[in-house]
Symmetry: C2
């Protein structure tokens, strides 16, 4: 199974590398970072640079697409090469997925009309602009479209997708290989449970 | 606060990028990927390449060091430039940390003698070779040395470290910014809870 993860300027690193690591540990899976052109792409913190090893033209029909989010998503919405690649790839994928604000790019590609979808809590309402029904859940599966909540949710999404694409035992073996037995030090990862005033502090970090 | 993450051939991507993302979202933190020489370093799956933007000589005294693990750790144990850099940097750090098999590199640098430490479940016993007391916990703090369990544990470790280095509210704000409210689809992330036979399957994925 060939998984493509498109990179664009100012993506969020963990959005891409969480699902990458899950998929790359799975037997029979190949993961390729794609971009407008082969070469380096820098994240939204300005201090991490990943190599894209294929251009969109090099990999028009991967089996799975996973679109990361990031501060750069809003500029990327106007990037026709990226949005058109997502739309064209989706016509042939087994699964088309997103992490965080990456779901807005699925929306811009016309994939979310009339579908439930999720994204980072801070921008959930924006999904309605693309005809989607925003859902506040960690991972939302609608047919072959799988969307995840913010940043770290890509790990949960990728394990879910792996179980659907292959088998539960393989997904569980990957979960154990990456020792994904999370023990967050605080109950602060969701606006539903975070201490009062924390969403404002978190928003300030995202811009 | 300046955080350095050393990269070496065949590191595990999420070991590095989990803590990177946590730290890079924190106000006042700068994260730099360092290596023997500036340039690309490829992970243990062979399909992700990160740029190191500083050499060890460029950054001898960061405030925090976070050493990732990976299949390449065992070769890296014989890499004197890396091991000596860790030892020298540690003499000046506020915190010296590791993820997964990265703790073996702290051991090789002489930092774990007589200390509790952890690593990936599959290699926990190896820590004793460095005079450490192996502990099966998600994150182990011993003075200024913080070690984490396998791969994904680096996210929990980095949030813990951020709270110690700065303040709890900042760590919580980062946790909310990256929506770290994990909901693993299976109870399979630890050998203590995984279904029978799963550790053997997971080990096969790691080699």
């Amino acid at each position: 199974m060939h998984i493509a993860i498109p990179l664009y300027p100012r993506f969020t690193a963990l959005d891409a590398v969480g699902p990458y690591t899950v998929m790359a540990f799975a037997p029979g899976c190949t993961v390729t970072f794609v971009a407008a052109a082969r070469g380096p792409v820098t994240d939204d913190r300005g201090s991490l640079t990943l190599q894209a090893t294929a251009s969109y033209g090099d990999l028009p029909h991967p089996d799975v697409v996973i679109v990361p989010g990031g501060a750069g998503t809003f500029d990327a919405l106007g990037d026709r090469a990226l949005v058109d690649w997502i739309a064209e790839a989706h016509a042939h994928t087994r699964w088309t997925a997103s992490v965080c604000s990456g779901s807005l790019l699925l929306g811009a590609a016309g994939l979310l009309e009339g579908r439930k979808a999720t994204t980072h809590w801070a921008i959930l309402d924006l999904l309605a602009q693309y005809g989607a029904e925003p859902v506040s859940e960690r991972v939302v599966t609608e047919g072959k479209i799988v969307t995840a909540a913010g940043v770290s949710a890509g790990i949960d999404m990728a394990l879910t997708l792996l179980a659907q694409a292959g088998d539960v035992e393989t997904a569980q073996a990957v979960q154990l290989a990456i020792e994904y037995d999370p023990q967050p030090p605080f109950t602060a990862g969701s606006p539903k449970t975070a201490p009062e005033g924390l969403p404002e502090r978190a928003l300030a970090l995202l811009t």
